[in-house]
């Protein structure tokens, strides 16, 4: 269990009514936007379990839209997020579905950005506002949004992990955790690196240009 601060007990400041169904949902939306890496043009959301059965009354749908717009969990505009989305030209559709053997509070969010990129992000709200992204496209991952992170899509070949961590070291960015997933041997792979400080865009751009790297993106904490 992570270290408890007094502000985890008296806090967070949030828009109600539920830390799991509202604040957590807003954070999941914000993480999906951060992972997509650009403003969201449209999103299709599948709500599973308790998110589907009691989500409406808890404003889960509204909070997810708020997160996709980039609003923080304590932003007083959360209740009007759907109107704000309409104004911004962002379209979000909701459906209920069975996502299988996953946490009861789970959403699958397929985002299309203004650049036309399409990303699938699936995550769960674990309670007390804590969240976990468990799927990015085809990659099973574990990303909490507590710390800034760097996502790197690369070819599964020797030396990429070393080159990426060398670049982070050169830029004095400390790695808090590191996970590497691959589709299969020699195919595409995904690195998720949580860091103690934010990863500047220049660092991410430098890593994108490394041999074997397909794309790299800084994902801020949410």
């Amino acid at each position: 269990m992570r270290q408890r601060s007094v502000f985890d007990i008296i806090g967070p400041v949030m828009v109600g009514p539920s830390s799991s169904h509202t604040a957590g949902a807003a954070r999941l939306g914000a993480l999906a936007r951060a992972i997509a890496g650009a403003e969201v043009r449209s999103a299709e959301v599948v709500l599973h379990g308790s998110f589907a059965s009691t989500g409406r009354g808890h404003g889960t749908d509204v909070a997810l839209v708020a997160g996709l717009l980039g609003l923080a969990p304590d932003d007083p505009r959360i209740p009007e997020a759907k109107a704000l989305a309409e104004k911004a030209g962002m379209r979000v559709s909701f459906a209920e579905g069975d996502l299988g053997d996953v946490h009861p509070n789970t959403a699958r969010i397929t985002v299309v950005t203004v650049d036309g990129a399409r990303v699938l992000v699936q995550g769960s709200s674990l309670g007390a506002g804590d969240v976990e992204v468990t799927l990015i496209d085809d990659f099973p991952v574990r990303l909490t949004g507590e710390l800034p992170a760097l996502g790197v899509v690369h070819h599964d070949q020797p030396g990429v992990v070393a080159a990426v961590s060398a670049r982070l070291a050169a830029d004095v960015i400390n790695i808090a955790s590191m996970q590497v997933f691959r589709e299969r041997r020699g195919a595409r792979a995904l690195m998720i690196i949580e860091t103690d400080g934010p990863v500047p865009d220049e660092t991410a751009a430098g890593i994108s240009a490394l041999p074997g790297v397909i794309a790299a993106r800084s994902v801020p904490a949410v």
């Binding site: 408890r4 601060s5 109600g16 409406r56 009354g57 404003g59 959360i78 909701f94």
Partner: protein, 300 residues
């Protein structure tokens, strides 16, 4: 927060002068942040609590589901049978519960559903004692430190431990902090928390329609009453024979032995009564209507 037991917290409080001072010192030590900065942050949370109360006391409209709303105002203008300080504390607790249900801004304390108890009790205690804002902020640190002990020894989640883990914990945190605010010694604060928590052992989480409204909004008020009773008794010198650390462990054990139907799933208790079912079904229809009318474009 590294205080894993109330015994440790009380020892630190004896050294620092109060639970609140001990909690602040420990937080500063662990985060490397200055006590001044931490106090400013907590002061900001107090301001959010006060705004949530003001919002709740001034509005008659119902929540998105239509299940709650307007009762804070009703209580605040009620007969004050026992006295205005008690009535006002109940009104403050309901006000935050209603603000939370309306998707207003609140401070989870320790959860969103139980966010009314700590502010309602501490504001009442501060008014009674003529306490300064700095003392009130210190009391919030005290409440948090007791909450952290409960998180370490049991749980603060209704899904894991029932309502006793949410409203029960909030009442224990509030009672200890209210005693701390009155300058009581750490042991007395522990007895205040133990007296509050023992009074809510076994309380189940049975929300109608699965929403944080019925009975959650009212339980903030009844939890406030329990916390004030516990504070009153502890300050009078009543000693609860089972120490707080053990009462907390009992709460956790009771929570684990509750069937899932009584842990936030809306399958038992009040949620499963004929009226609870009808209200729950109606609430979900209502909120779907509200949703589609506020953004047809964004709905499937």
């Amino acid at each position: 927060m590294a205080f894993a037991t109330f015994i440790e917290l009380a020892a630190a409080a004896r050294e620092h002068g109060s639970l609140g001072a001990a909690a602040l010192a420990r937080e500063a030590e662990e985060t490397g942040l200055t006590p001044e900065g931490l106090v400013v942050r907590m002061d900001g949370e107090l301001t959010v609590m006060e705004s949530a109360i003001a919002a709740g006391l001034s509005r008659d409209d119902r929540s998105r589901s239509g299940l709650t709303g307007g009762d804070a105002k009703r209580v605040r203008t009620g007969p004050a049978l026992i006295g205005e300080p008690f009535r006002d504390a109940l009104a403050d607790a309901v006000a935050i519960g209603e603000t939370n249900a309306r998707m207003g801004r609140i401070v989870a304390a320790p959860t969103a559903g139980a966010s009314g108890v700590v502010p309602a009790v501490l504001l009442a205690a501060a008014r009674a004692a003529g306490a300064t804002r700095a003392e009130l902020v210190s009391a919030l640190f005290a409440a948090a430190s007791v909450g952290a002990v409960i998180a370490a020894r049991a749980t603060l989640s209704g899904a894991a431990g029932g309502c006793q883990a949410e409203i029960g914990s909030a009442a224990a945190m509030a009672a200890a902090a209210a005693a701390d605010l009155q300058g009581a010694d750490p042991d007395t604060c522990g007895h205040a928390a133990a007296l509050a928590l023992q009074g809510q052992l076994g309380l189940v989480c049975d929300p109608v329609g699965g929403l944080v409204e019925v009975p959650c909004v009212m339980r903030n008020a009844t939890g406030t009453a329990v916390a004030l009773a516990a504070t009153e008794m502890a300050l009078a010198g009543v000693r609860f024979p089972v120490p707080l650390d053990e009462v907390i462990v009992a709460m956790g054990q009771i929570g684990r032995s509750l069937p899932p139907s009584l842990r936030e799933t809306a399958l038992g208790g009040l949620a499963a009564t004929p009226s609870g079912r009808t209200l729950g079904e109606r609430a979900c229809t209502t909120c779907t209507d509200v949703t589609s009318s506020t953004g047809a474009d964004t709905d499937a």
